[in-house]
């Protein structure tokens, strides 16, 4: 039997685009000050933008998030959010 072509490319490991990923942070007064990445902790140099999304309050799975667009040391940009219901932090492409 021929093996699945998807196995060759490891597509079973592909994550759908835009899926949030948990992230570790240092936070001061609710604002991220450093983000833990593969290379280690990176300082937040600039909070470029902050925005909120509140939606779906009529559904069991409502959304209440505070998003941050951050410039990290070294120039890397990242978007992450705080889930206000669960109290957790996530990285998500926006």
């Amino acid at each position: 039997m021929e093996s699945s072509p998807r196995a060759k490319v490891g597509s079973h490991r592909i994550r759908p685009l835009n899926t949030p990923v948990p992230v570790q942070l240092r936070v001061d007064a609710g604002v991220p000050t450093a983000v833990l990445q593969r290379a280690g902790w990176r300082r937040v140099d600039l909070v470029e933008e902050v925005w909120r999304v509140d939606d779906g309050w009529w559904r069991p799975s409502q959304v209440a998030r505070t998003y941050f667009r951050l410039a990290l040391e070294g120039g890397h940009m990242i978007t992450l959010y705080h889930d206000d219901i669960e109290g957790t932090w996530w990285v998500q492409t926006y």
Partner: protein
């Protein structure tokens, strides 16, 4: 809370529930919140009507808050209001301005339409052909509007040249001193970038910027009702109205100190709210000068 902060900001863009199927709080609730938050001046700017203006003004006066009478007018560039519409915030500076405000609201609601059916359609869906605005600008302060304002929407769409043309038109009609480029920051994605672009445009044209809250309810929790109202207004469900509803619960009446923090990058925008509040001295409860007629009465009787 220091008195400096209490008097540091006036809310000049506020919808009561007389913004039908859009505003989610009664005037009483908004004014009670304003009192608790320490506001000294508050404008009412409902969509295309002045239904709540008098009750708002009276309640403000009872709460020792300066009431400012205004409207958020719906405009269209074409004569029959069939094309894309945009919003403009107008505040009455004096009695002449109030008269013009009333006239503009009447026209937006179809007063001058001869055909009954057309007039009824316009009454249910108010809109003013923009050329009619030019005839009634005296005595009004013009704030360039919310995200659906012409200047803001063109700027956000990176059509800066067109935004400049639009802004210069308001300046031609209202005068340099009476036009303010409106900045709003309700923690909506894109607010900050748009505000920076609007501030740059204002500098280029030589007009001032002004911060407003685009208030649609008195308390954050009321955002749920506002969502429902929007769905009803558009004859659809909550699930299907995602693109029509506001993206978050940040359209409430905010504490003045929070507005100061929100607009740290634009301190003039906050300070100018007090400049405009001072300029809009028209008091609906006192300045109309209505006098009731004195009827003839027989001797020994009083009018009562």
């Amino acid at each position: 809370m220091g008195t400096d902060l209490l008097s540091a900001y006036a809310e000049l863009h506020l919808h009561t529930n007389y913004s039908l199927l859009d505003g989610a709080s009664h005037p009483e609730e908004l004014i009670e919140s304003a009192t608790e938050l320490g506001y000294r001046s508050l404008a009412i700017t409902d969509h295309d009507n002045l239904f709540g203006a008098m009750v708002f003004a009276r309640l403000c006066k009872e709460a020792s808050i300066q009431p400012i009478t205004g409207v958020e007018l719906t405009l269209a560039e074409d004569e029959h209001c069939l094309g894309r519409r945009h919003h403009l915030t107008l505040l009455a500076a004096n009695r002449e301005g109030y008269g013009n405000l009333c006239r503009l609201v009447s026209l937006a609601n179809g007063l001058d339409l001869v055909d009954q059916n057309q007039r009824e359609r316009r009454r249910l869906d108010p809109c003013l052909p923009v050329r009619r605005l030019a005839e009634h600008c005296a005595g009004l302060v013009c704030l360039t509007g919310c995200r659906q304002g012409l200047v803001a929407s063109l700027t956000a769409g990176v059509r800066v040249a067109e935004a400049e043309v639009a802004l210069r038109r308001w300046v031609d009609w209202f005068g340099h001193e009476r036009v303010f480029v409106e900045l709003q920051d309700n923690l909506v994605h894109g607010d900050r970038a748009r505000n920076r672009a609007l501030a740059a445009l204002a500098r280029k044209v030589g007009v001032e910027i002004i911060a407003t809250g685009d208030v649609h309810y008195h308390d954050r929790a009321r955002h749920r009702l506002q969502d429902v109202l929007v769905a009803i207004n558009n004859r659809t469900t909550l699930d299907q109205s995602h693109q029509l509803r506001r993206p978050n619960r940040e359209f409430h009446l905010r504490a003045p100190e929070l507005q100061l923090r929100r607009f740290l990058e634009f301190p003039d925008a906050v300070a100018n709210t007090l400049v405009v509040a001072e300029a809009c001295a028209f008091d609906l409860t006192e300045d109309l000068g209505y006098r009731l007629p004195e009827p003839p009465v027989p001797p020994g009787h009083t009018p009562d």
